[in-house]
């Protein structure tokens, strides 16, 4: 159980940015921090990790005060056993990928996770590379692996999958979810990717301008925003082709492309690139399970 209740002013050249947080996070939760750029998500993580001290208030973790302004308590980051994937990766330039992982290992840690992590994150090929020779995505995978090596109690992820393509990011999502469950972590993820959020997290905390404006299950939070319940999707027109007397409109909905038949009057106000809603008149959907990938 993490109980947060604090204020923090960040001095910027043009005034102050005020962070004011009141939040309880149950043990084992998988929380998503969601909000526009500059809302204070990274600062939230930094304060929890002990890298930034609040001005006043308290941070209690399992009833142990990690920070308490009245009692003048401020636990150092070293004592918090937190795994952190930084937005800029913060890989150590002097160490190879493998050395970065080895360095993260805690003394007296019984299980050596490194080979397993290197395997899952597809880092084995890159084991002896230094960070400056890695591509952006390779760096991100290495940083994620490094944060998991130490088997933290709390895992903080600052957009850990932003630079990865769909294929590997699906794989890593699964891995993060498994790690979260297997090691009974409390995980806090900063992400903008709704699919990722839905798949991974059980609570979404929405931040805006340093404050928590909403929180709840992802469904609750996003259902209102989206066109809920009905089978209708927003998409973009890719092309309109005439076939005999009808027109075939190709629409991109997320990364699926569908073709919709329309007649001349319907087509009049449509252009390539227009945003459209595609809905079903008499819809009767069926659902099939996709077999697990090996």
């Amino acid at each position: 159980m993490i109980k947060l209740s604090y204020q923090k002013q960040l001095k910027t050249t043009d005034g102050f940015f005020e962070l004011s947080i009141d939040l309880d996070i149950p043990k084992g939760a998988f929380i998503c921090l969601y909000g526009p750029s500059g809302a204070g998500k990274t600062s939230f993580l930094r304060i929890l990790a002990g890298l930034l001290a609040p001005d006043k208030g308290s941070i209690l973790v399992n009833d142990i005060p990690w920070y308490h302004s009245d009692k003048k308590i401020g636990l150092s980051p070293q004592k918090r056993n937190i795994g952190y994937v930084f937005q800029d990766y913060a890989l150590f330039p002097n160490m190879t990928v493998q050395e970065n992982l080895k360095f993260a290992q805690r003394k007296g840690q019984t299980k050596d996770l490194i080979p397993e992590l290197m395997e899952v994150m597809e880092l084995s090929q890159l084991a002896n590379r230094t960070p400056d020779t890695l591509s952006g995505g390779q760096k991100q995978r290495a940083a994620l692996a490094r944060a998991l090596v130490q088997q933290p109690d709390i895992l903080l992820l600052d957009e850990p999958l932003a630079a990865l393509d769909a294929q590997i990011s699906t794989k890593l999502q699964d891995y993060i979810l498994n790690a979260h469950r297997d090691y009974s972590l409390t995980t806090i993820l900063v992400s903008h990717d709704l699919g990722e959020i839905m798949k991974l997290t059980d609570t979404v905390v929405v931040m805006e301008q340093g404050r928590i404006t909403k929180s709840g299950r992802p469904q609750e939070i996003f259902m209102n925003r989206q066109l809920s319940g009905k089978f209708q999707f927003t998409g973009t027109i890719l092309s309109i082709e005439k076939q005999d007397v009808i027109y075939v409109v190709t629409v991109l909905i997320y990364n699926t492309i569908i073709k919709v038949v329309a007649d001349a009057t319907e087509i009049q106000e449509l252009r390539n690139g227009d945003s459209v809603v595609v809905a079903s008149k008499a819809f009767n959907p069926v659902i099939y399970k996709i077999p697990e990938r090996s």
Binding site: A49, G50, L51, S76, P77, Q78, K79, R80, N81, I82, G83, Y84, F86, D88, A90, F92, P93, N94, M95, F103, A104, R106, Q150
Partner: protein, 223 residues
């Protein structure tokens, strides 16, 4: 040609550089981290040994370390340290004299590292010491090298301070710089040239090796 002064010079320079490295790393680290109000004062003090002419600085050391003096007396009787006319004294004086050359590049190097490196290490539970030695210092090799080379070379060429508190004792405090100076004074220009060239050649070779290794030119043989 007497090799003793040259050997002594390199012994002194090596000892001073190593001892100075041990002192400067924590000091530079503290300076690069602290937000204390006295930081600029300490920074200024660190530069001050440069400002006085070496012989004058040497003279003040001489007075301070002299057994006639409370401080020298105390060093002598309590720590059994005799700093005038001894190799140990040369080391102490050279360290003070070369302090800024070691501290300042290391401090500038540390200050230029992104904060996220130490933060990442802290989050991993690594102590400040481990972070410093495993993460920070290996990433400022260029600056460390600058510090080491400046301090080493400066001690090799040091003259005034050493002359003052060393007493020019052959085999103990008569380093090459003083030997060369003596030869110049004695108008033995040839001997002086010969000493100078040897000193120059050896140091040139040493530094070149350092820079070659540092530049990765010797990777084939090194790794």
């Amino acid at each position: 040609m007497n090799w003793e002064p040259l050997l002594l010079t390199f012994e002194l320079a090596l000892t001073t550089t190593i001892a100075l490295l041990l002192v400067s790393i924590p000091l530079a680290y503290w300076l690069s981290k602290t937000t204390s109000r006295i930081k600029p004062v300490i920074e200024t003090l660190v530069s001050m040994p440069l400002v006085l002419p070496p012989t004058v600085l040497g003279f003040y050391f001489l007075v301070a370390f002299s057994p006639n003096n409370a401080f020298g007396e105390w060093l002598n009787s309590w720590l059994g340290l005799q700093l005038v006319f001894s190799f140990g004294g040369l080391v102490v004086a050279s360290m003070i004299y070369s302090l800024p050359f070691m501290v300042q590049p290391i401090q500038a190097g540390l200050a230029s590292l992104p904060a996220s490196l130490s933060e990442a290490a802290a989050v991993m539970g690594k102590s400040r010491n481990i972070t410093l030695f495993k993460v920070l210092l290996p990433n400022i090799k260029k600056s460390l090298l600058t510090g080491i080379v400046l301090a080493f070379a400066h001690t090799v060429g040091e003259f005034g301070v050493v002359l003052m508190i060393g007493g020019n004792i052959p085999g103990r405090t008569r380093v090459a710089s003083i030997a060369i100076y003596d030869e110049v004074e004695a108008l033995n220009y040839e001997a002086a040239n010969f000493y100078s060239l040897t000193l120059f050649a050896i140091t040139f070779g040493m530094l070149l090796l350092v820079y070659l290794i540092n530049g990765g030119y010797l990777k084939r043989f090194w790794k």
